[in-house]
Symmetry: C2
Subunit: 417 residues, 2 copies
């Protein structure tokens, strides 16, 4: 970070740890959306936004938004932010780092006496993590007009999602989609080891990988483990083992190029799971992530062929891979990526382009705005865990990049409009 940067690491640090203190005391760090602790965190954030000179509101989708009007508000809005909710037993940085970075950009501009031409907004999206209602990115889907209406009927903890949004101050049946947002930027911890391993400061995110979840069920036969000769078995486990290894082999091949690809057998349940019975059934759930849709299509195709070949070889039945959910990759905006690269150079941040293997609010914002995000390094790639860690210096440097990019976009967006 350049020595005369207006970004103040001390403020960033104080804010992150103030929010971290708002947690279930015996289960740090837990501040799940729709809980009283979440609302307590938001009251703290609301005040911080106001202290930064923003006018705050909860929008119809339940997002907390701080607005700093621009000199030419008719140009539209530049939106910065992330989310303040956590998973259970989560960390202090996932989401929070991006909300606080947005806040610090606003404070730095105010400290410099700078007012953008565009209106600047800071956002804390509602429920980015999978919430008690079993779905994620509720706020960014709302603001981008991509939230399925039927989600409002989902029930958890005795209330519907509709009631949950009302409780946080939203108006779930009012239109929430915005058309004035010209650009959206999000800072986030990487949640992976790449920046640390390559000793880089910032990842400029080219795309949010698509996520496809695929179920395979292997159907063997529950024979007596002692009396059934090895040659007379239909062992679901060993067939499932070949499939798990096939998934890994396919994923490694697809990941060998430049573009991000990963596949994981994350769920694996075996029945009857009794010491003296040959495994009868295994259900596997595969999580596959691809920067390129072509890679995902190839994976799905090769997987189906591989499973059929394994099943034929072992003589144990396996269902055709069934797609449970399928979200395509979202490329980030090419112009904004160029702005971010230049901002890295100007802030002195060692940077690379990379895809995000994880889902983010940015993927939904890209539907209605020029959107992109940057990653800052996190220790050993750990996330969704109390061990999650990022240094204040790294977050501050990322925030300086964000500030520079916002200033550049404020000009560039006027040119391109």
């Amino acid at each position: 970070m350049t020595p005369n940067s207006p970004i103040r690491p001390d403020r960033i640090e104080a804010d992150i740890y103030a929010l971290a203190a708002i947690t279930e005391p015996d289960r740090p760090y837990t501040r799940r959306a729709f809980t009283p602790l979440f609302l307590e965190g938001r009251r703290w954030l609301e005040k911080a936004m106001q202290d930064a000179g923003a006018v705050t509101q909860i929008d119809a989708a339940g997002n907390l938004i701080g607005t700093i009007p621009g000199q030419r508000p008719e140009l539209g809005t530049i939106l910065l932010g992330s989310h303040s909710d956590t998973v259970p037993d989560g960390g202090r940085f996932d989401g929070v780092a991006g909300v606080i970075a947005a806040l610090e950009v606003a404070r730095a501009l105010r400290d410099q006496g700078a007012v953008l031409a565009h209106t600047l907004e800071i956002v804390d999206f509602l429920a980015e993590e999978v919430s008690i209602f079993g779905v994620s990115c509720i706020g960014s889907r709302g603001i981008s007009g991509t939230q399925p209406r039927e989600w409002l009927e989902r029930e958890a903890a005795g209330i519907t999602l509709e009631q949950g949004i009302v409780q946080v101050g939203g108006e779930p049946f009012k239109p929430a989609q915005r058309d004035d947002i010209k650009a959206f930027l999000e800072l986030h911890i990487e949640q992976g080891p790449v920046l640390q391993n390559e000793q880089l400061d910032v990842g400029v995110v080219t795309a949010i990988a698509g996520i496809t979840r695929i179920e395979i069920v292997v159907e063997g036969r529950a024979d007596h483990a002692g009396t059934t000769p090895m040659g007379s078995r239909k062992d679901a486990l060993t067939t499932a083992a070949w499939i798990a290894l096939g998934v890994e082999e396919l994923a490694k091949a697809l990941a060998s190029g430049e573009e991000h690809f990963a596949a994981t057998v994350g769920e694996f349940e075996m029945l009857p799971n009794a010491a003296n019975v040959v495994p009868a059934r295994v259900r596997m759930l595969i999580d596959a992530r691809a920067e390129l849709r072509d890679d995902m299509d190839r994976f799905i195709d090769e997987l189906a062929k591989g499973v059929a070949a394994i099943s034929e070889k072992t003589g144990v039945g396996a269902t055709e891979p069934r797609i449970i959910s399928d979200n395509p990759p979202t490329p980030c905006d090419a112009d904004v990526l160029d702005v971010l690269d230049a901002a890295c150079e100007s802030a002195g941040a060692r940077h690379r382009r990379m895809a995000s293997g994880a889902g983010h609010d940015t993927a939904w914002m890209a539907r209605i705005a020029k959107a992109a995000m940057i990653f800052v390094p996190c220790k050993d790639g750990r996330s969704h865990s109390p061990d999650e860690f990022a240094t204040v210096d790294d977050i501050a440097l990322g925030t300086a990049v964000l500030l520079d990019a916002v200033k550049a976009l404020d000009i560039k967006l006027q040119e391109t409009i």
Copy 2:
């Protein structure tokens, strides 16, 4: 079966189905040891034994025994039987076929006006299956003096095993070990597919395989499934998959000889088992069965080497295989095997020698008597399931073999004493 055999299939059929009717009505066929239904089954059996001319008693170990005194009781006892308890959702034949066959031998002798020189006893062993107390073969371990004393303190359903034995009529703190039993024979369904596949009538059991249970824990790392590159993972599942396939390969090699060997990964638990997290931990429980102790020793040795090699190759840690329980194989008595082969020939039963992969009361009786058992075919090897099935004709033919063997042993045992 020879046309003039005194064995009556109609009586065997009626008895098996009478006992099958004593079941939890909505969960056929369930008659677990220590339950009121088990005691109801035993009252039925007690009367059937008395009708066959036997004097009945519950011995100190809780076994139901019917005694038909011999002409020369000082020669000792020939004991026949099996068990009447079932697993939950079990079948009609496992255990029961052997108890009813023993009963039918006694009735056939009576019908022929024959009284053995030895005393003949029919036994229904207490709790051969894993009971609510978590252990098996309680009655045969009692009568053979091999029941660990501390088992009596085991608790389940609000009582101790000691109290359970008292409830069925036993006297758990009295010595139960017998020294007068000269021979023990058990008929049982095979619980495997070998006799059916080879179209044979009787298996003459050479040994009860040893059972060794081995635990392996694979310790990977719970990384984000989307953001962690394929090359940076420590995936516990794929390492466990290699181990499961290694177990199968080793077992197939050891099973390729004449002697029985089988190994199964029967339990497989993965953590955290979440779609978007790289598997962090897998616990596997291996059930290995060997007719020869040498084979088991080789398996344990090769397994340890294989696991270490896999762990080194994948870079994911795995514990050294840990032996959880280890019961050595029990050979059946060579003299009795010859008698059984001859009895098969004389009854016209197509027969082969084979080891039992499953545990049986015979394994414990072999500690105090010349013991052996015969198998009769069962459909598709199914057992411990309501689908378990054996034909009355097959059971009757096995019973005829048993009758012939008992008569032969009654003479042969006098010669060898």
